[in-house]
């Protein structure tokens, strides 16, 4: 479960202060599949980064799976990113010179899982995404859709309760994009993983069971 209370986030650029959002409240229940839409630059990525503990709000409280994580140390946040959150981004964030299977297994290194078990679990995740035949390849040899599936496999390998996807289909054509959303749905259904997707694409948003629109007023309009 994600619970954001009165979150305020600003960027300070020299003398300018850009208030991205203020008094932002949002709750995502366990097992939900939520889409966040809104025009470019309205703060979707910022919001997702805060949820994913790679950025921190200026004020407000963030409860992740029932724990207040607002004031955690950098190390504790890293641990939560590792075990409770899976992240998927638009440009896949794969390391080109690691094999696919090593890319997928990377989070397990920081969970202290032995090499053999890492490879077994990575292979299983790749199987779930239907690209186990690419395990020995390097990312530059894959198509966009395959890369995104690798990055999803990596995001779920540690069985996180929350999966955050920032424009996961942004760089893909429509058909491949749909396939990716299909996999995200599948994960949501099989593992009851909470999925939050940021997207431009209204069609994709409609495939989720809840859709949130970011508006100019810095308020969220919730459509259940």
């Amino acid at each position: 479960m994600i619970k954001l209370n009165n979150i305020r986030k600003t960027y300070i650029n020299g003398s300018d202060t850009l208030v991205v959002f203020e008094n932002l409240c949002l709750t995502v229940e366990d097992g939900e599949m939520v889409a966040i839409t809104g025009r470019s630059g309205c703060g979707k990525t910022t919001l997702l980064n805060i949820m994913g503990l790679i950025d921190s709000p200026e004020s407000g409280a963030y409860f992740l799976n029932g724990n207040n994580v607002t004031a955690l140390s950098e190390k504790e946040k890293a641990n939560k990113r590792n075990k409770e959150i899976g992240f998927v981004v638009q440009d896949y964030a794969l390391i080109d010179y690691y094999r696919v299977i090593d890319n997928v297994a990377l989070p397990l290194v920081y969970s202290d899982v032995g090499r053999k078990e890492r490879e077994e679990r990575a292979l299983k995740a790749l199987e779930l995404l239907g690209i186990e035949d690419k395990q020995k390849c390097f990312p530059p040899m894959l198509s966009g859709g395959q890369k995104q599936r690798v990055s999803i496999a990596r995001a779920i390998i540690n069985n996180p309760r929350i999966l955050l996807a920032d424009e996961p289909t942004g760089a893909l054509d429509k058909k491949t994009g749909m396939a990716v959303i299909h996999y995200l749905r599948k994960i949501n259904e099989i593992y009851k993983t909470t999925v939050v997707i940021v997207t431009h694409n209204q069609e994709l948003a409609n495939m989720c069971n809840r859709s949130i629109i970011f508006e100019e007023t810095l308020k969220l309009r919730d459509k259940k």
């Binding site: 950098e74 190390k75 990113r81 590792n82 010179y97 990377l106 920081y110 202290d112």
Partner: protein, 385 residues
């Protein structure tokens, strides 16, 4: 315990990275190695030049006179080929030994050839006053330098070897030249030198020389003359001595003169100073290269690995993990290059300076990367990468 685990985890990544980038790493090592050798050598040379300068400054130039041969070459040739002149030389030798003046002899007229094909080695015939003036020090046991003032047996000439011969000889070894026989009595400390403004523009190092007492039994006219014309005198009243003693010497030997050397010694000092300045500049440039080289390497390494690090952070690495990863790389680089340099450089002081510079830069690098990774969140790094 936890630390050990992190170190090991990151080491695996670092090793994989090394395997992927063998060539560029090799290049880094070669660069660090060359810089290290250059740096160490220039530090060593600067240190000894500085000491030579100090000594040049301490030489009592204003009290020094030198025996000078004013002959035409032919005249001197005729002179030394006529054994009847031995008497004249003996008288002058005697006059120079008079108690009114302190006589310094560094006669480099001799050399010996050890093996065929090797360059001949200079044998400096010197007296105890020269050892005192140039503060020549010996390894191991203190020796009674009065031995340099006695005539030595030509079949057992005692010699002290320059530091670079330490690898090849031991005390007591007998070295046979075609005409003479030397017994190794000891070794001169590294970087010992003397200053002879008439022979060289700066300090002359003794590392590749032998030194021996000035007088050898059975010395012939040529050797005795050489000793005379390689004599300096130190005296309180330079003017009186050059008038009286100088006149006597000239009366005996028309072409021999006592001459003032303050000008030459001053020139020698200027030369040594220039040498130090030149080397100092070289040295600063090398130090700059060390620093710029290492820092730009960091910039390159962190930049080419930015995305990798950011992704590690994204999936659960903490900033500490990444900094450890960077530290491991630089630590290995520094240790390996320092060991390699040590293998070729025997001077500990300059090696320590090199290692210190490396460690300072290493610390800077770690601090800088700490700031880099603590300052920004990983999504920003991913975007940038």
């Amino acid at each position: 315990m936890i630390m050990k685990k992190i170190l090991k985890q990151q080491l695996v990544f670092a090793v994989d990275d090394t395997k992927r980038n063998v060539l560029s790493l090799l290049f880094e090592f070669v660069e660090l190695f060359i810089i290290g050798i250059l740096l160490c050598n220039s530090i060593t040379i600067i240190c000894s030049s500085a000491r030579a300068l100090e000594m040049a400054a301490n030489i009592p130039a204003d009290k020094m006179l030198r025996m000078v041969d004013n002959s035409s070459g032919e005249e001197f040739e005729r002179f030394i080929n006529d054994n009847r002149n031995m008497e004249k030389i003996e008288i002058i030798d005697h006059l120079l030994d008079s108690s009114l003046v302190e006589r310094i002899v560094v006669d480099n007229g001799m050399s010996c050839t050890l093996d065929d094909g090797n360059d001949p080695i200079d044998i400096l015939r010197i007296n105890s006053n020269a050892i005192n003036l140039y503060n020549i020090e010996f390894e191991d046991a203190p020796i009674d330098i009065a031995i340099f003032d006695f005539e030595c047996n030509r079949r057992r000439i005692p010699v002290w070897l320059g530091a670079s011969f330490k690898k090849y000889y031991r005390i007591g070894d007998v070295i046979d030249d075609d005409s003479n026989c030397f017994v190794v009595k000891g070794f001169i400390k590294r970087n010992a030198y003397y200053i002879d403004p008439f022979q060289s523009k700066s300090a002359v190092y003794l590392d590749k020389c032998f030194i021996a007492p000035e007088k050898w039994e059975g010395d012939e006219l040529i050797e005795c003359s050489s000793r005379i014309f390689n004599t300096y005198l130190i005296c309180e009243n330079k003017n009186d001595i050059s008038k009286n003693l100088g006149k006597k010497i000239e009366q005996i030997l028309g072409f021999a003169k006592l001459s003032d050397v303050s000008f030459q010694i001053e020139k020698c000092r200027i030369n040594i100073t220039e040498e130090i300045l030149t080397l100092g500049m070289l040295y600063s440039v090398v130090v700059m290269f060390v620093i710029i080289g290492l820092l730009s390497r960091l910039y390159l390494f962190v930049n080419t690995h930015k995305k990798e690090f950011a992704i590690h952070v994204l999936v659960g690495a903490s900033n500490k993990d990444i900094i450890i990863r960077i530290a491991e790389k630089y630590f290995t680089m520094i240790v390996v290059s320092a060991l390699f340099v040590k293998f070729f450089i025997s001077d500990n002081v300059s090696w320590c300076i090199y290692v210190t510079i490396e460690i300072v830069v290493f610390t800077l690098i770690i601090l800088k990367s700490t700031k880099l990774f603590l300052g920004s969140n990983s999504s920003a790094i991913i975007k940038e990468a």
